[in-house]
Symmetry: C2
Subunit: 303 residues, 2 copies
Amino acid sequence: MPFEVFILGNNSAIPAHGRHPTSQVVNHHEKFYLVDCGEGTQIQLSKYKIKRSRLDHIFISHLHGDHYFGLIGLITSFHLLRREKPLHIYAPKGLKEILEMQLNVSDTKLVFELIFHETKFDSAEILLENDDLTISSFPVKHRIPTTGFLFREKNIQRKVRTEKLEAESIPHELIVELKKGKDVILNEKKYLSAEWTFPPASPRSYAFCADTLYHEELKNYIQGCNLVYHEATFMEESSERAKQTFHSTAKQAATMAQIASVKHLLLGHFSAKYEDLLPLLIEAKEIFAHTKLAIEGLKFEVE
Amino acid sequence: MPFEVFILGNNSAIPAHGRHPTSQVVNHHEKFYLVDCGEGTQIQLSKYKIKRSRLDHIFISHLHGDHYFGLIGLITSFHLLRREKPLHIYAPKGLKEILEMQLNVSDTKLVFELIFHETKFDSAEILLENDDLTISSFPVKHRIPTTGFLFREKNIQRKVRTEKLEAESIPHELIVELKKGKDVILNEKKYLSAEWTFPPASPRSYAFCADTLYHEELKNYIQGCNLVYHEATFMEESSERAKQTFHSTAKQAATMAQIASVKHLLLGHFSAKYEDLLPLLIEAKEIFAHTKLAIEGLKFEVE
């Protein structure tokens, strides 16, 4: 079952070099989650043929425009397309009032329900949970209140060996127990979970670290993640500028990946000053080899 | 000297088929004016290599999102690029508060001055005037308060015949009078304006009719214009839908061009339901031959 991240936008504040502001779609078992929604996100969705209607949960890291200016356009399109399902928005305080004001001046009464969940900035919290996945927010350090988001799979059950099932038909209730790892006796016959099932794959996790200064505490939230997206607005030569603007360098992103023992790193949120992104990748790879650039239109598997 | 309209976006509310929401740049004598600013306008400006910094005056027809959602992104980019010149925005009541709220939540104090001019909806009014051009708004009929914009050249002065100037050097003050059409006697010699100058070209005009129902009064504002942009959200077969949504059909746009005796018509604001726009053009041309489609990336001269 897929667990992957699709990049819709990877640029920092000023769109440049054909790059768009931050937005990504996380696909977990064919459930789609939108993370940040910079200007033009709905146009990017349409360009990459990702159906808007598959989105029910939108996560906004903070209220700098390059992370949410596209949201009102997307909501308006949902309205015009007569969406029926509720739409959940997880975002900092203040967004609700802006959206409501924009809907008011256009005399728009939405035909679907918009449900706001205000994120908090002092600690991590679970935002959403289903059978397979937990989505939490965690605080990062930026000029205004900002959270990252962690997508973590739950402990997955063991998988039944199909060849055993084909050879012998057994009741569903028995399968449920075997998948939990339990041995069962039925009609005096013993069914061993270890014989009838495979061990499960390890639960995977993806962390989106939003816009942030480099700060060591962050490692506690993303420890051991399979894939981490970390901003790399600048290169190390501009580390002063990074600090002033509450951003990170490629080297810092890589250092974070290293100290948090993550498996793979994705760099994004590139400054408009870099047309060529290769030097950022090289800078990061010197510290952390498993680094990739979050290029628009590419899909990254959470391995 | 150029007088032309560059199309950045031509689609109605829902972006579709790679088409963007409404936005155009009017270039008059190398002064650039932005008319409407749908989502993604700054990205379109950059795509077509139109320098953002050349814009000092932005005209917003109404507060449906597809006409202004791109404005806050453009303003934020101006801020990040340390714009120094003031920026004038001509728009309906309500926009100022939305923009201010968006700047507040991101803790942004603009480094340049934003000057709002509230448009009115009961009659036409002059919004801006310089030596060569008058820009006015005029009311149209839409679901919420909406204006069109009229760009009208002033009476242009006569042009001096260069071959006369090359043959005889005369004082600058004398040239100024001759260009006004006056005959002058200097050192007992008579200088005839008709001999020294050409008659001026007729002043040209461009009308942007925004989103509107077909209504006959409109013709009073756009009478005789050289170029008129009129929305054609639908075709005549959807005229009921057009009426319900306060929009026009291609046939109605053409009828307006005809009864207002304009020279050229530009159709825009196409519904997402039309991937192929040719049928709209054909429908309009049956009534008014000098019709073109406002295709993104194309420049239309005000002839």
